[in-house]
Amino acid sequence: MDRERADLLQRVTLGELPPDAPEVVAARRADPELDAALIETEGVLAALERARAEREAVLADAAARTGAPGEAVVAPFVRARTASARKRPRWAAALAIAAAALLALWLPRALDPGTSRSSDPSTPLGGRASLAAEAPVGPGSDFARFAWTADVEGGWFEVEVFGADGEPLEGGTSGPVDGREWTPDPDRVERWPEAIEWDLHWFDGSGARRESAPFSASR
């Protein structure tokens, strides 16, 4: 998709140009790829509007309700949680955070003294040379932060993480990333398997996927 048509897609998506404007209609006729992208974009926008109507109906219904099952447990739950927060001295919380940070720095090296993650070579498994992983790569990795290098300009990146069986992992999709690193939700990461595969994709400004590279890592 060329620049002019990418601009057209953006303007229609943003509502700056109606999908039936003469220049849009002409471009759609000439470019089946743009036509398909616009049909799908209109479908997403329409679905968002239907979801919004559903959401408003639920919020209005909930606002009018009293005596729903489970209401009786709310106040005791909130009081118990804030009371336990009040009891914990601030210095204890600070000490716990500092200890956790030190442990996180020390533990991986203590368990695997022969591995230095900072010197791990990037090992793409057949992707193009312009996308290279910094972390996590190879054995002894942790999955807290995904980082890479890329000799591309503009656009954005996306990360997808899979188990060894090729199934996508919960919380393993980054969404668009501007920079060259992504931090997944730590709660989800805890539940990931010991060995993962991950794909790095680069999209140009029009939203077209231009390059992808697969990597593997284990912890």
Partner: protein
Amino acid sequence: MGAHHFEDRRGQAERDEETIRAALAGSRAATERLARRLLAVPRLVAAIDARRGQRLSEHDIEDLAQDLLVIVWEKLGQFRGTGTLESWLYRFCLLEYMNRVRRLQRLPRPFPLLDPRATPTGASGEADAEALEALLASLGPPEEEIVRLKHFEDLSFAELGERLGLSPNTAKTRYYRGIQWLRRRLSQRVEEAS
């Protein structure tokens, strides 16, 4: 819905943020206010269930509401007051409700399929809401918040930028990326399913 309605929502969102901050800091008065505001959790679950033909028993709803309170409490520090507390809670309530119903009824597909190319004759807002909430949750910030605020809170790009500390142009670019990401992901799922 007029401008006044959205001004009311914004005022409520700011009060909710202040209430949460004060309650988490140990204020007893704020704790009581927060307890009243979080009554929205069981009420939202009951409302969602009513719109889906009462698939859960009263006991299941109570059980789910308790689990949701734990989930929401862990995330409460992430509430930024960009929308009202009920609007923020809705996403968790809907996703957990879907998971619970699927688990209890042993339904195979994790989320309903939304084909962006299909003509929406007889389209179900319920199914669209489920599919989109699940996808928006994996889109992540800031695009997730921008798409939500644009479509669910009716904000202009200028208002969006103001609330999120972005220029209107950056808000537009992020919104475009978010919509195109949703488009690609939905198409990909439809292709995989077929």
